[in-house]
Amino acid sequence: DVKVTQSSRYLVKRTGEKVFLECVQDMDHENMFWYRQDPGLGLRLIYFSYDVKMKEKGDIPEGYSVSREKKERFSLILESASTNQTSMYLCASSLGGLHNTEAFFGQGTRLTVV
């Protein structure tokens, strides 16, 4: 079974704090993704990475950055958290390449910024 593990299920942070969300996958997948999930808006892609040290902006990268120093780990960073970043954050990974695009998701991190 593919395992995508997010380090926290729930986080509460103050406005202006630097926040790190960690994600680890154990299946040697090439691709990793960060989405945020909001009611009525579905899932929106923040950043993705197709290789170590590589990153690409998704649809809503503003206010976020990412780090991928090792293949199995993909971190999402909120440099200065704001209340509009309160959301459910989902990490996912996929093997990569044609027809290997099924994404496996973590359990999610519900972040509240107060």
């Binding site: 993705f48 990569g96 695009t101 994404a103």
Partner: protein
Amino acid sequence: AQRVTQPEKLLSVFKGAPVELKCNYSYSGSPELFWYVQYSRQRLQLLLRHISRESIKGFTADLNKGETSFHLKKPFAQEEDSAMYYCALIDYSGGGADGLTFGKGTHLIIQP
């Protein structure tokens, strides 16, 4: 740009009734279509993909390129089908590494 539209935010049907969750898409490449499902308190998971042409948990979805639709259907709904359903698309022109584009989701409620 690719886009996925799910017109219904909420769909409520009675147990045993047929279910159809609508999905329309637009794209500029060679897409693959998926349905993902999230049951209460569980992680998002793949339900089915159009290239597999298989039926999962009684659900099927046919890709209609003329109508650019990928509707999800089940002839007889069961209570355990209650969940959030997302239609998603990936464009192969980026080698599949560009990530899934999701619709906004449809909350399916099966009433007893």
